[in-house]
Structure formats: C-alpha cells, structure tokens
C-alpha cells in the first residue's frame, strides 16, 4: 500500500495534470476515541478489569481530487471496551478504498458500504456504537445507462474483525424511476419507482454431516408509488435453502414481505407498516452468530427509544420468523387554539406489535425445527399465537412560553424475554412515563430536567430515574442523573446507578466525560447469548473532524 501511494504521488507530481489535480485536491477526515477507566463494584456486579483502561479509537482519512477519491480508516482496540465483541483486538487498517466516478459511471475498489432497496437482501453498513461493520472488500460498479435507470453490481468478501469472512458475496440491483425515464410521465401526479435485486453467496461445504448448498441465491422486487399526499412502499424477498446456525440447519427457503402506506399533509402524517419475516437470516458464513458477517438488515417495526427507562426493553427482529405491524401518527395542533397554546403542540402516537409466524410440522415423522430437514411449514398470511412484543406510546411536545417547553411520553410495553433474550423469565408488562422539561434561564443558558418512572410486576420491578442537565450555548454542558431500582424485592439489590457528565464542544470537536455506574444486560443474537457486564468507571469520548 505504501508503494502504491508513493507511486501515485510521484506520477501525479510529474505530469501536467498534476497541478490541476493538486489544486482540486481535498483532504478531510474525522476521528473518534472512547476510553474508559473501570473500577470494581460487587453490588452491581462490576468485576475488576485486569487492564483497568479499555479504549476504542477510529481515524478516517479521505482524499479526493476531481473524479478520483480514496480513503482509509485506522482502528485501534487496546483492548476493546466492555460490551463490544472481544475479537476486535489490536489495531490495523480494516477499511481502505479507491474510487473513480465519471458522469454516470463509478467504480469503487477496496472496502465499501451499499444497500439494495430496504436492505432485506443486502445491507452493508457501519454502526460503530453496536460494533457492527460488515463492509465488503471487493469491487462495486454503479451505472446510470439512461435517465431514471440506476444499476449496481457488487462482489467481495465481508469484513470479519481484522480479517475477512470465508464467504464470497455477489449481487446486482436495478432501480427504475418511471417518471424520469419517460418525459411524457415526468409531470404526472402518479410517481412510480420499481426495483429488483439478486444476491448470492458462496461458501464451500466441508461438513461431513449435512449436504450443504454452496451457492445460496436470493432475489427481491420492490415498488414505491407516490400519488399526491399518499405513498406506498413495498418489497418482497425470497431466499433458497440456507441452513445455518441461526435457523438450526433447516432447509426451508426464506421469504420476507414489507409494505408501508403513508398519508401526509401539512400538520398531519400517518404511516401504517406491516411485515412478514420467514427464515431470513442471511450471512456470508453459515456458522457465525453475533453481529458479524450479516449480509442483510431486518429492522424492527418499532419506535427507537432514547430515554433510559424506555430503552430498558428494546426489541430486535427475530430473523427466524415474525409477523409485525406498526402504526404511527404525527399531528400538530395548530397554534392559538385551546389545546395548541401559543406555539402549537406536536403529538406523536405509535403502536407496534410483533407476533410469531404460524409454524406447522412438515410431516408426522419430522419434529418442528428438526436440523437437517425442511424444518416447518408456514402459511404466508397466518399469524402465530405467541406475542413477542407490543409497544403503545404517545409523545406530546408543548412549548408553554418563551422560557419553558416540555416533551411528555407515556408507553405501555409488553416484552417476551424468553424469545427476545433467550431467557426463561417470561413476559414483562410495563408502564413507563417520561417528562423532559427545558427551562431557558437566558437565551444561551438553559436547564433541562428529565423525570422517568417504570412500573412493572416482573423482572426487577419498579425503577425511577431523574436527570438534570445545564447547558451554556454553544460550548458547555454538565449533567447529573440517577436510576434507582427502588422496587426490587431483594433489599440488597435496591441499587442506584448514578452518572455525572461534563462536556465541551468547540465547532466540530467534542469532548465528554461521564462518571458513574451502568447496568448489565444480555445480548442474544442468533442462538448465542453474550453477557454485557455492569460497569463502574469514568468514560471519556473525544470526536473531531477536519
């Protein structure tokens, strides 16, 4: 790589193109480093960490000149922080690319990220906070042969920590925007986009027990229709037999269907979505579990919650099968009405529900989900009896006067911990309320108070949380908060998880310090459960870009 860049530099400086290129040359990048100093606390279950200090560091550097661009990312884990997969170890350059684009054509070699449609077959992405990075290392071509037609082709191997996965991924995707394609339709009120993709992966079969398919192919079709205030979005995907650890080595093909209907006008938006997932775990290595080597993205049809207590029971899509639906309403009560007040009120309502799919035995002599068989039969539109998750919540945002505004949330969550976490603790039913109030002391100094309460008769019973944050625009913030498990039936487990934080932001650089205790959690993905231990210590986060 060193030789490549020196050669490129020499060649560029020697040609007359050089001056032109160098004039257009741009360098930009960003870095992020998180490090945590850990202390032991036996009450919450925080063990001593032998290294005492754990850190994750990332540096992105990108260079672009005209049609050419290149970049690298350096990552450092010495050692990786708690909660991340420990196979992120040491340091190296797991991401590097060079790309050239010219008018309607572009080619990228090296590592890249890509998504086909909604990602049901292929979504290659990075989500650093979750430790997900399944970048493809290979070649990507994108081509627009005609206006309104977008073609993509990818091939490569996926990143596996600092190495590469065994499987080879290849795929093609085409999308046609009918209104751009034909001038006669460009002014039409009905706007249509249709697309299709084909993705397959290859992994050799050296298994003496099963006859495994070495090439697993899948295809998907999608359509988006817009008419005035209405939008309909739908995608269907089909995958041939793909026995894997996650689906217990069954040979049933996989299917998924997603549809959403949205109506929006000034001040009102309604979205209804429904989804069926049937055996759609898709990885470039059939034996891998956890967050590594996934090829597709099956998002949960739920509202992501960021308030601490609301985020206690998050739902993750069950790739082996689920039927889910979600309804969302966004409404603005106009200002200068009784309910709206002087500035108007925003209301957001959400209902999400996920059930199992209906599974029937293939025949009388084969058990349900028996490895090495078709596994089960499932009617496409039948809904299973078992409830996985339900979330009813409403959020009201209101500005009382120039100085005071608040966001008030209430939610009722039903959480099947047996299925979601692989536990044996049953289903949890909880009522959660959150009040988030901001008071502006001066135009640049403000105080924010968060008060949260979680009421449940299961799990660890009731919790209360309070947080106070003082900010001085545009640079400073300081906060203090505590989550208290006051309802725990065991006296010694009625614990406080307090945090203190402080941060400074100058333009694009930010440093934040947090000191306190964090609860433990269990993460179960695809048949393997991992304990994320409780921790107590000081966390420092620094990010910047240039």
């Amino acid at each position: 790589m060193n030789k490549f860049f020196t050669a490129a530099l020499l060649i560029m400086s020697m040609t007359s193109v050089a001056q032109n290129v160098l004039q257009n040359a741009q360098i930009h990048g960003d870095f992020q480093t998180d490090f945590q100093y850990y202390m032991a606390d036996s009450a919450i279950g925080a063990d001593t960490i032998p290294e005492k200090l754990l850190s994750n560091g990332y540096l992105n550097l990108m260079f672009s000149a005209g049609n050419f661009s290149a970049g690298i990312r350096y990552e450092n884990y010495n050692n990786v922080m708690l909660g991340f997969d420990p196979r992120y170890k040491g340091s190296g350059i797991p991401y590097r690319f060079a790309s050239y684009s010219h008018k309607d054509f572009d080619i990228t070699v090296g590592n890249y990220y890509e998504q086909f449609g909604s990602g049901m077959l292929l979504r290659i992405y990075e989500e650093r906070s979750l430790g997900i990075d399944n970048s493809l290392d290979g070649i990507r071509l994108r081509f627009k042969p005609y206006k309104g037609i977008y073609l993509k082709g990818v091939i490569g191997q996926q990143r596996f920590f600092f190495d590469k996965g065994e499987g080879i991924v290849r795929g093609i995707d085409g999308e046609v925007n009918l209104n751009e394609l034909n001038d006669k339709w460009s002014g039409s009120k009905l706007r249509t986009t249709i697309g299709g993709s084909f993705v397959s992966k290859y992994q050799p079969d050296k298994n003496p027990i099963y006859k495994l398919p070495e090439n697993v192919g899948s295809w998907a079709g999608r359509i988006t229709l817009n008419y005035g205030n209405w939008m309909l979005n739908s995608e269907y995907a089909y995958k041939v037999n793909d026995p894997s650890t996650v689906n217990k080595m069954i040979y049933k093909p996989g299917e998924a269907l997603f549809a959403s209907l949205c109506y929006s006008q000034k001040g009102l938006g309604i979205t209804l979505s429904a989804k069926r997932i049937d055996n759609m775990n898709f990885r470039s290595d059939r034996t891998v579990t956890g967050n590594a080597l996934t090829m597709n993205y099956l998002p949960a049809l739920t509202k992501p919650h960021t308030y601490t207590l609301l985020a206690f029971y998050p739902y993750a899509t069950q790739p082996n099968g689920e039927m889910a639906l979600q309804g969302q309403l966004n409404y603005k009560i106009k200002k200068n009405t009784t309910l709206g007040g002087k500035y108007g009120t925003d209301i957001a309502f959400n209902y999400s529900r996920a059930n199992a799919i209906d599974m029937q035995k293939v025949n009388d002599s084969t058990a349900l989900m028996q490895p090495g068989t078709l596994g089960y039969k499932s009617d496409f539109f039948a809904i299973g009896d078992e409830l996985y998750f339900e979330d009813v919540n409403i959020e009201v945002s209101h500005k009382f006067n120039k100085k005071l505004k608040g966001i008030f949330t209430w939610a009722y969550l039903t959480y099947n911990s047996d299925v979601i976490e692989g536990h044996t603790d049953g289903t949890f039913y909880s009522h959660i309320g959150v009040a988030d109030i901001t008071y502006k002391i001066t135009p640049t100094k403000s105080l924010r108070l968060e008060a949260q309460h979680l009421m449940t008769k299961q799990d660890k019973k009731n919790w209360a949380n309070v947080m106070l944050e003082f900010t001085m625009a545009p640079k400073w913030f300081i906060m203090a908060g505590d989550s208290y498990n006051y309802g725990n039936p065991v006296k010694s487990k009625k614990l406080h998880y307090y945090t203190f934080g402080f941060g400074y932001t100058k333009n694009s650089s930010r440093i934040a310090l947090t000191y306190g205790k964090q609860r433990e959690g269990i993460v179960c993905v695809g048949g393997v459960c991992r304990n994320v231990p409780a921790s107590y210590g000081l966390l420092v986060t620094i990010t910047s870009n240039f």
Binding site: D85, P86, R87, P145, Y146, L151, G153, F160, F161, F162, D163, G165, E166, R170, I172, L181, N182, K184, K189, L190, F198, S200, D205, K206, N207, P208, I209, Y210, L212, P213, E214, N215, V216, G217, W219, Y227, V240, N241, P243, S244, T245, K248, M249, Y251, D285, T287, V288, T289, G290, A367, G372, T373, L374, G422, H423, T424, V528, C529, R530, N531
Partner: protein
C-alpha cells in the same frame, strides 16, 4: 387512478425502444444477469444429511483433535453444542478428545437448582485467556488453532473444521502409562511421545482431569434436545476438573522436536476433592506448540 395505469401500460413500448438504443451494453448486461441467476443457486434435494466420510477404528496411529467446548449450566443454547460434539465423536471414533469447560457468566451459581460449581481454576484461566464468554456461549476451540484470524469456533462450524483437519496425517503419537493409587488418590503418569515431523518451537505437554456422568440441572431452550426451560437430570460429560500440571503444562522439549525422536515426561498429581467420582474420570494428555498454542496431538485414558 385506473386511467393513469392504462396510460402507463400503453407506454411500455418506449422501454423496449430504449433497449434498442444501447444495444451492445444491454445485451451484455442481460447475459450477465442470466448467468448470475443460473450459477448462483444450489437447491439441495432431500435427504439433506449424509453419512459423511467418517473413519473406522483400526490399530494404526491416527490424528486426534482436541475439542474444548465452553459451556455453563445456565446457558440454554449449550445442550445443542454437546449434541454436535457427540455426533462428531460417533463419526470419527477415537479421534476426538472432548473437554467441556464450564466458565464465565453462564456457569455462575444461582439458587436453588444451580448451586453446583462446575468451574475450576484452569477453566477460568482458559476462558479469560481466549475471551470465550465475552463472545458468547456455546463456543469452542479446535486444537486451539486459529481459523480466519480467530480461535473461537461456533458449534455448527466444528464438523467442517474437524473433518478438514482429520484429512492431515498425524504428527505425533502419545503413549501413556499410568499408575493410580486408590488409597492415596495419587496419579503418576508417564507420557511417551513419538514425533513424525520436525518442530522448531518449544513443545509443551499438558494433562487435564475430566469427569463424566454428573447428573444435575441444565437450562435448555430446544425442545428437540430435552425439557424446556430446564433439564433436571442432564448428564454432564467430560467436565474439566483440574490440570495435573497447571493450566499451561510443562515443557516437553525446549528446542522443538525432530522427526523420529522420542520424548517423555512424568507427571504426578494427588486428587484432594472427595466429591469427584474417580470411577468416572478420564485423563486427557496433549502436546502443543508453545508459540502458536496449537495442539499437535492428544490422547485420553480412563483414570481407573
């Protein structure tokens, strides 16, 4: 709405016109797409299992793989891994040396039914060193060998990786002579190792003690394996109890080994835990490369 749709359908010929324009490229892309579709799909017809090329036991020296299964009695997915390990032992009789290591979060004690401590110092050391429970359970190591940058291998990958390794010829042969004094519970064993290949790095030798047939509770979430959510009378096999000569063993040969040479080591150990059933115990001896930690050969004998 309907009228607009029929308008659309009438305009379809326009799309075909486009294909005439970019003739060569469109034909090429259609060929690429079709070839993709033709080659990229393997649909397997039943039966899906095969009586894979296993091995039949003979008297000649065979390569033996050390399989370490990291588990815990609170781990609901772990009984499934034990089944895969035993399937492999049936397929390759005498060629798999299995050790089950109870360590980490899922091996902790929880009243009332999970108060048996299956952990041991050596198991904890190995679990911390290889970082297994932070990745998750069940998981294992195969000859502690690195595959694609990682030593931790999931149970569904054990058959492929083990069958590949077993195609290689054995690199050493371990012959064990042992003396067990029932009254003092003292073990004296001598391992005589014949090497078939040259080795550059220091060779270490380890001896571990395992116990079989311990009936106790085990969490389980697979109805095909047993009772859900827990199996009250689960038969725990190959449980690692102790290392006879510390977790990382002794040096067998500090300067490597030469093909055809013989090396031997004597190891002694006294069993102090009276709860262990000595009639159900095995001794596992294995040699490994001190630098890569990869196990070269293993051997197993009954204690009594």
């Amino acid at each position: 709405m309907c009228r607009l749709l029929t308008d659309y359908l009438l305009q379809l010929p326009v799309i075909f016109n486009f294909f005439k324009m970019k003739n060569i490229f469109s034909i090429a892309s259609i060929i690429v797409v079709l070839s993709f579709i033709i080659v990229s799909c393997d649909v397997i017809e039943p039966p899906f299992t095969q009586n894979g090329s296993g091995t039949t036991p003979t008297d000649t020296v065979k390569r033996k793989i050390l399989l370490e299964d990291y588990t815990g009695h609170l781990c609901p997915n772990c009984p499934g891994a034990a089944i895969i390990a035993h399937q492999l032992m049936d397929l390759y009789p005498g060629q798999i040396t299995l050790i089950t290591i109870h360590a980490g979060y899922f091996a902790k004690l929880v009243s009332p039914n999970y108060m048996t401590d299956f952990k041991c110092t050596t198991g904890n050391d190995l679990n911390t060193f290889f970082g297994v429970d932070l990745i998750g359970n069940p998981n294992g190591t195969i000859n502690r060998k690195e595959f694609n940058g990682s030593k931790i291998i999931g149970p569904d990958d054990w058959p492929s990786k083990i069958s590949e390794l077993l195609t290689l010829a054995p690199e050493a042969d371990i012959n064990i002579t042992k003396n067990f004094n029932n009254n003092t519970s003292t073990i004296e064993l001598t391992a005589n190792v014949d090497f078939f290949n040259d080795f550059q790095n220091t060779i270490m030798i380890s001896a571990y003690l395992t116990e079989d047939s311990i009936i106790d509770y085990q969490k389980n979430n697979d109805p095909l394996v047993g009772a859900v959510p827990e199996i009250a009378d689960y038969v725990h096999m190959h449980v690692l109890r102790a290392a006879l000569n510390d977790t990382w063993g002794d040096t067998l040969s500090a300067n490597g080994a030469i093909a055809g040479a013989k090396y031997s080591k004597t190891i002694s150990y006294t069993i102090t835990n009276s709860n262990w059933n000595k009639n159900q115990m095995h001794i596992v001896v294995f040699i490994y490369d001190a630098e890569s930690l990869e196990v070269i050969q293993s051997e197993e004998i009954k204690l009594k």
